[in-house]
Symmetry: C2
Subunit: 186 residues, 2 copies
DNA sequence: ACCTGAACACCGTTCAAGT
DNA sequence: ACCTGAACACCGTTCAAGT
């Protein structure tokens, strides 16, 4: 990449991080280009879709979550590992308001710039879930997509100002549902 | 209301029902006015905010849910009544894509045209929850807002094309979490 | 009373023209 | 190679002018 292009890319990403933090995932792209002091076409050149921009913003979080999952897969209690990773996943999705809808949609859209990362996140969660299920620490009747959906639902709750105060408590409620095997508690 | 105004109101509502069913709660108001064969100002005269239009669309559902709650409050098992109403609530919120976010936001916004109805829905759910809790059929550590949040989360899951196939199953997972008292199953 | 639609200030996206 | 910004087709919202 040419030096001036690199500079524009970095500047766009930094500004986008600030603006998306403030306005959410549906922030105005025009506004981002404007605040970055760059033509609108330049933004589109570097990030051809909104998903591409979000992917760049979330890159670090995705990598951290993948590393965290790798650690947890062989450490401590299977149930605790699963819940701990789920907590990190939800917290990271809540970093940018409204981003969870794109992350969920990306699962079934191979064209989305977020597709690969989101499929990888689902797989990482699924591995932790399977281990917990094998040990009898998690209910057996859910799969990786269910886990991803529950994580998404929790992130959505955290995104709603009227519900955010309950987000932590509801995390515990749902975590307990995941960790409870209904067949054995009846 | 003058006869011509009445006609416009009814026509707008009918068209809005069709368009919002098709496009979701963020459908273009301009498009609705256009398809209704009415000036844009006329739409704003009858429905000064998007929430006012949604409220009119949801009026019937709200009334039905209130009636259903009243019935269920004195019938059958407290746990079954709670879950049955919750199912109806979620199904009704899923009738119009994207409407659940407005319904949740309305809870903490007294200016919203949806405020009164949504507060009433939360109260109806809370009554069914309290009865179930009193009988020991529902976990004691959640309140009406938690229930409303869980219902919202389930409706959100149903709204996401990538997750909708799991919505029914996740309803059961969360319903079982509500009906399980963690203090007694440990 | 009620209706209309132009006007204004915004979008996302594309692409010809510039360097 | 890369950048710019006008152009196009849309929004939501308001309000002067009409009936």
């Amino acid at each position: 990449m040419r030096a001036d292009a690199r500079k524009n890319y970095d500047q766009l990403l930094a500004v986008a991080r600030a603006v998306v933090t403030e306005e959410g995932a549906d922030a105005s792209l025009r506004d981002i280009a404007r605040r970055a002091g760059v033509g609108l076409g330049t933004l589109y050149r570097h990030f051809p879709t909104r998903e591409a921009l979000l992917e760049a913003l979330l890159r670090t979080s995705f990598d951290e979550l993948a590393a965290k999952a790798a650690e947890l897969e062989t450490s401590g209690s299977a149930g605790d590992s699963l819940v701990s990773w789920l907590r990190d996943f939800v917290a990271s999705a809540e970093n940018y308001r409204g981003v969870i809808a794109s992350m969920v949609a990306a699962i079934s859209d191979p064209e989305s710039a977020l597709h690969a990362s989101c499929v990888a996140m689902r797989a990482a969660g699924a591995r932790l879930l399977t281990r917990a299920q094998t040990e009898g620490a998690a209910r057996a009747d859910i799969d990786g997509t269910d886990l991803y959906a529950l994580a998404g639902a929790l992130a959505w709750v955290g995104d709603q100002p009227a519900l955010a105060p309950r987000a932590d408590h509801l995390f515990d409620v749902i975590a307990s549902a995941i960790l409870t095997n209904p067949a054995t508690t009846r």
